[in-house]
Amino acid sequence: MRTKDKIIQLILARLDVLPPDAKIAIVGFGTYDKHELKKHVRKDDDIGKKIIEIELDYLKSLKKGVFYA
C-alpha cells in the first residue's frame, strides 16, 4: 500500500470516532458530518486535503509532546 493510501486509511479511521450527531463546520466551506468528511477524504478534494492536514498536524503535535509542555 502506498504511503498516501495508508494516510487516507488512518484519517478515515480517526474520523470514525466522531459521534453521529456531530458536524464539523469549516468556515469558508460548509458543515459536514463524518460520512461526508470521509467522502471528501476519499476523493482527496480541497476539503479532504484540509481535513487530512488538520489530522496530521494534530498527530505531529502528539509526537512532539505538545500536551506535556
Binding site: A25, Y58, S61
Partner: protein
C-alpha cells in the same frame, strides 16, 4: 464615545452560528459605552460598511463571515475587504476578523496600509456543531467550546483591553477548553484536534 462597527452576515449555517453567537457582543459594547454600528444580515454590505467607516471613523471593527487568504466577505458572499483593493478602509482601527484565512494576506496588507492591529486566522477556522441545534445555536454546547474562546477576542477588545492582551485571553480560553477535554473522560475529546488547530492559527498582527 468611541465607535465600533460590526458586520454580521447571516445566510447559511456557518454565518448563522456566528450571527447568533455575536449577538451578545452588541449589548456588551453598549454596556462598555461604545457607539455601535451593527451591520447585520442584508445591512452587512460593502456599500453600508464603506459609508459607516467614512462617516464615523471607528476605533474598533469586528468582522464575521467567510474569508480566504486575501479577502473577507459579508452578506451573500459579497466581498467586503480585499487585499490590493480596499484594505485601507480599516486604517487606524483595531480589527478582529472572525473568519477563515484572512490573517495570511489581507491582515498584513491592512496593517501595512495603517490598521493599528489585525487579529484573525491564517488558516481555516473549524468548529463542531450538533445536528438539530442549527435553529438554536446558543444551545449547542459543542459549538460553545469553539465560539466562546474565539469571541474572547471581541469581548476583551470591547472591555478596552489591548489587542495583544485580547489575543492572549483568547489563546488562554482555547487552552482551557483543550485542557478540560483531555483531562476528563469526555467522549468529546476528539474536538481537541480542531481546538488546537484554531489556537495555532490565530494571529495578532500589529
Amino acid at each position: 464615545m468611541p465607535e465600533v462597527v460590526f458586520t454580521r452576515p447571516d445566510y447559511e449555517t456557518v454565518t448563522h452560528y456566528l450571527f447568533v453567537w455575536s449577538q451578545k457582543l452588541i449589548s456588551l459594547a453598549k454596556t462598555n459605552k461604545w457607539t455601535v454600528s451593527d451591520l447585520k444580515k442584508t445591512q452587512a454590505s460593502l456599500r453600508k460598511f464603506t459609508a459607516v467607516i467614512k462617516k464615523n471613523t471607528p476605533q474598533l471593527v469586528l468582522l464575521h463571515g467567510h474569508g480566504n487568504y486575501s479577502a473577507i466577505s459579508c452578506q451573500n458572499e459579497e466581498i467586503l475587504l480585499e487585499k490590493g483593493r480596499n484594505e485601507e478602509l480599516i486604517k487606524n482601527t483595531d480589527t478582529y476578523a472572525f473568519s477563515c484565512e484572512t490573517a495570511k494576506e489581507l491582515g498584513p496588507a491592512a496593517v501595512k496600509k495603517g490598521a493599528k492591529s489585525y487579529i484573525g486566522y491564517d488558516e481555516v477556522f473549524v468548529f463542531a456543531t450538533t445536528k438539530g441545534k442549527e435553529k438554536d445555536p446558543l444551545k449547542d454546547k459543542r459549538a460553545a467550546k469553539f465560539l466562546e474562546p474565539a469571541l474572547e477576542v471581541s469581548t476583551s477588545l470591547l472591555r478596552r483591553l489591548s489587542p495583544r492582551t485580547s489575543f492572549q485571553n483568547s489563546q488562554k480560553a482555547f487552552k482551557k477548553n483543550i485542557d478540560s477535554l483531555i483531562s476528563s473522560k469526555s467522549k468529546e475529546v476528539y474536538l481537541v484536534r480542531y481546538l488546537l488547530w484554531n489556537l495555532r492559527h490565530q494571529v495578532c498582527l500589529t
